[in-house]
Symmetry: C2
Subunit: 351 residues, 2 copies
């Protein structure tokens, strides 16, 4: 049982499960040696409202990476990067990704371009061009809806603009594999889906999320820029932190290496995304059931006004909704979830 080595560069929190705390344990459970570089050392995730600790400076990150390199410890088969605060630190990671890609064309690099969510940027805008420079180095990216729009400068309002955004990622930025999870299933998207992928027995509404896996194809053999696979999952109400970090880690863990892993068509990516989706969803359900059984004061709904007046309110809610990663470790370790499949979106690229 030795699947190789992953270098993970993301945030660290003492309490709870976001960033590295959501990614490293699952990767280890699945048999990977994980090298862990912490971009921040915080008490807890920022959603609590109160948090403290420090960000690693560019010089500190460089010192860690340079000494690893001198000691020939910088030879991971896979690279995973998540939240990295500030453009200076991000530039260090860009330089690292360039170096690793150059040394090893077979490197599997999952880049999660953490920029923001639901229309709000939560990083400084000067990191956007750096992320764009990183895209061609990646094997897989896992942006959310908003991050796709920000990186491609395309507002996605219909299938045509969705095609345009994916085309930019695959062709202009040379990203072989794109997984966009958690897309609200708006009416236009619901209507465009192939019948077998539409959530059964329900009207189109925001209680479903769609995951799209788009894997670039060899365009010398056909006109479609990518093979597109999809799956809709039910949306659990309320906010859970670290879900995207867990999902990205699981996509990377389940992505099969191979001589042309990056360009091997849709099957590798769709397999990995399907497993990651099923396991993440099962973990969320476990967490949701746990949270639902807590005393009422630990699950007061989001109310910005009340939350601002009583910080405890938010803190208790956040704590009650931390991922049950340790308690649900058997979910992560389960070898193959039989019903974890994505549907092919045939004809996606036909205008």
């Amino acid at each position: 049982m030795s699947k190789g080595r992953i270098l993970s560069i993301q945030s660290h929190v003492a309490f709870g499960y976001v960033g590295g705390k959501a990614a490293v344990f699952p990767l280890q459970c699945l048999g990977y040696d994980v090298d862990v570089v912490n971009t921040v050392n915080f008490s807890n995730h920022t959603g609590y409202g109160r948090f403290g600790g420090s960000r690693a400076t560019a010089a500190e990150l460089t010192a860690v990476l340079e000494n690893m390199e001198k000691n020939r410890l910088l030879q991971p088969e896979r690279l995973l990067t998540g939240y990295i605060p500030g453009s200076e630190a991000l530039s260090v990671v860009l330089g690292l990704a360039q170096k690793l890609r150059e040394k090893n064309p077979e490197l599997i690099y999952l880049l999660d371009p953490v920029l923001g969510d639901s229309g709000k940027l939560y990083v400084s805008p000067d990191v956007i061009p750096i992320y764009r420079a990183m895209l061609p180095l990646s094997t897989i990216i896992t942006p959310n809806w908003f991050e796709v729009e920000t990186l491609t400068d395309v507002q996605i309002t219909d299938v045509s603009s969705l095609r345009r955004a994916l085309k930019i990622l695959h062709e202009q930025y040379q990203v072989p594999n794109v997984v966009v999870s958690s897309i609200p299933l708006r009416p236009w998207l619901h209507a465009a889906l192939p019948a077998q992928a539409r959530p059964s027995g329900s009207e189109p509404d925001a209680s479903y999320l769609l995951c799209i896996a788009s894997s670039a194809t060899d365009t010398t053999k056909g006109p479609a820029p990518s093979a597109v696979h999809i799956r809709a999952v039910t949306c659990l109400s309320g906010y859970f932190s670290g879900v995207g970090d867990l999902f990205s880690a699981l996509v990377l863990a389940h992505f099969r290496a191979g001589p042309h892993a990056g360009m091997a068509g849709g099957s590798h990516l769709a397999h990995a995304a399907a497993q990651a989706l099923a396991k993440t969803h099962a973990m969320l359900k476990l967490t949701d059931e746990y949270a639902a059984a807590l005393p009422e004061e630990d699950r007061l709904p989001t109310d910005e006004e009340l939350d601002a007046r009583e910080p405890e309110r938010k803190v208790r809610r956040m704590n009650g909704r931390e991922l049950r990663l340790v308690q649900g470790q058997d979910i992560i370790r389960s070898s193959a979830l039989a019903d974890a499949k994505m549907s092919s979106w045939e004809g996606f690229w036909e205008e």
Copy 2:
């Protein structure tokens, strides 16, 4: 499967398995939620010769802990502290331990007083009095031989001085449980052991190590200050890093909580130490077998002169001997190792 929450405060390395990297994954595998406070963020352990990164300042540690406290996230059932660089940072941890002990008399605190090894101090001498002040707050300590001598100011050369050192720890410093692992089985110690605990079919020599678990007893019921249990294990040649950190984590993980866990006699401690010893030994064997199968240049023996001339030599050896924690995770998870038992050292306290 929810065993409660452990706050772990120790060093972090990006590559390899020492400090938190050797402790946290095993604790998570065994079902504990682990809050992880990093006292350093280094590239690799210092044994490689070259390393880089940063130490958390006392102010940074305080910021993390204070924000956890404000958010009511500082309520662990168990506390684990390992390597903490410098007296200022250590004083912060002393203050934390005092606060947690005061809030929760049932707190199970495993203190690994990391001072040095084999006659050499590898911390600043000004931390020694701070560690002495921490001892009465602990439930279990896991010093090595040299650390027992340093903390008690007793040179251990015979059974009488061993008794004196343990008595000081139990009575003067009020430590309920002491586990000293990896004591070279010198002739005087071999000769003093009860017959059933002596390694069978062999002369006394340095190829055996003894583990002693000493659990304070209720002295109103009898004259002996503690129940003493022992087990000898064969010693693998060469140096492995992170072994003590893994061992301490496993002792804590297997120590049963209870209304009087700290003072419940020898059985709880002997059980935990026996499991920790068996699992650590199995992990070491796995690592040793892996290292033995590496190409010759990755397993060149320690030679200070050659190592100084060629830093690569040492680096490769260190890398080849990193614990196979991920590959051996089934060892950690195994529920009960039947032959993992310690022998009672009856009559240890009789002069």
